[in-house]
Symmetry: C2
Subunit: 315 residues, 2 copies
Amino acid sequence: MTEPTLRDIRAALERIKPYAHRTPVLTCSTIDSLADARLYFKCENFQKVGAFKFRGACNAVFSLSESEASRGVATHSSGNHAQALALAARLRGIPAYIVMPENAPSVKRSAVEGYGGIVTLCKPNLASREETLAKVAAATGAEVVHPFNDYRVIAGQGTAALELLEEIPDLDAVIAPVGGGGLLSGTAICATELRPGIQVLAGEPHAADDAFRSIQAGRILPSDDPQTMADGLRTSLGELTFSIIRRLVEHIITVEEEEILQAMRLLWERAKIVVEPSGAVPLAAVLSRSAEVTGKRVGVILSGGNVDLGALPFR
Amino acid sequence: MTEPTLRDIRAALERIKPYAHRTPVLTCSTIDSLADARLYFKCENFQKVGAFKFRGACNAVFSLSESEASRGVATHSSGNHAQALALAARLRGIPAYIVMPENAPSVKRSAVEGYGGIVTLCKPNLASREETLAKVAAATGAEVVHPFNDYRVIAGQGTAALELLEEIPDLDAVIAPVGGGGLLSGTAICATELRPGIQVLAGEPHAADDAFRSIQAGRILPSDDPQTMADGLRTSLGELTFSIIRRLVEHIITVEEEEILQAMRLLWERAKIVVEPSGAVPLAAVLSRSAEVTGKRVGVILSGGNVDLGALPFR
């Protein structure tokens, strides 16, 4: 597959429509006043498995031919992608082999197994993850579905922006968080092709600013064990996502941990929705650069809402 | 004004439409599985001021003639009704006089003043509240708008059920929480007139079960200082709401505090929405009586989402 276009994102939306939620777009006048802009929140926290990840995983799983699909899918992940792939595979009636580090929280393992995923444990380092995944894939013939560096996944993630722009066509800008870059890449392809001239922005934690630094440097500069509460954004860009983001994204706005917490609190207190720290990063970015969006209509992709209610950061 | 009918609720919806949110209806497959029913959550936690109360207050304020309105509105409340009335009055450009007990949390007083309400403090007992309100009303000529025992307010609260039934016409049952009974009364009038044969249910904290006991006894038996985390439901029925509820509501289902907490947790963790304890009571009721709703399509009115994030009940 070559780099996806709007056409591929439209095809992805048709493919996942029977399985994924068309998530609502919410607005909040109090937050608009603070930003001095009109913000449209695309609520992927309401998506299946609680995050946009289901879109990409579902598109990948349902893109497979019958014979490919029959051997199942595989990935290494301890996060939302693992659950998303397991659920998508169950919906197609095929096995999902998930490689997880042995120190992953048991609640995450249970969640994957709850969706029917077959878990293989590995040592908690990237080499062991990749080696174990390669073994599992060789033994089963399963198709490996990378969490972001995969065109099928990127096209699937782009469907959130497609739904958003179908509902609110006249946006001046759209902003997504950036971790591995799958959501941002799909968003950028969709938005720039559907609305030439639209501004595509990204929010990234300062403490995990590999995308910001990589774009500046013109080459991938991964983060090394970044410490941010936005746990979904600790990943670094891949080659496919780097190439798309470099071309189509206007600014990557980095934000401090305190700004992430404030934005998350606003979404909970004022918009009354449960958003995880990673999902609050784009709003934090908008609020930190409100001069640049003054008076604009901005689509804000809230990426997910998976939090541990027993360990919230609010004081 | 006589007891409102569906016609009055329709008129109320036209009246408040320019000011109130048409709140979304959300579903959650995980919660549906637990209930073994199909639940449609009408999200009044997303309403202006974070609760359905804005509907009733707004209908009352915009029902006034120009000359009545010019003298303003008044009420005694320390809760969501105070904020709702202050905001509705500001939208009409008239004063709102709010009597609050002197021990009300300063955050609640600030919220009312933030909406332009003029606060008069009183002693923290019902006699002082009523006496102070009477004085304020006499001095200003303001129209008193009771939080629930007022037909204009009841008609306004019924607009939530009207929107819900417009969107999901084929409900088998609808359930609302009951405190003073304004929301439940409006819901019952709307639902039974629009869908003859629909079941109208209510959820009430066992610890504040005055509505349950009053309906059993055939006369109003107020609760005396009830202790429940569902702080919006500590109020007892009024004469107007008692008469409507007695006639139109099939069951009042009482729930324990632990059930309220569990239902609230489900809504936060699974539906990803911030709902206050009072708003979770109807879901708690559905889950505690799931045998009675098996396979049914049930509209569940989530009444509000105002919580203190610094003092959540989750462990």
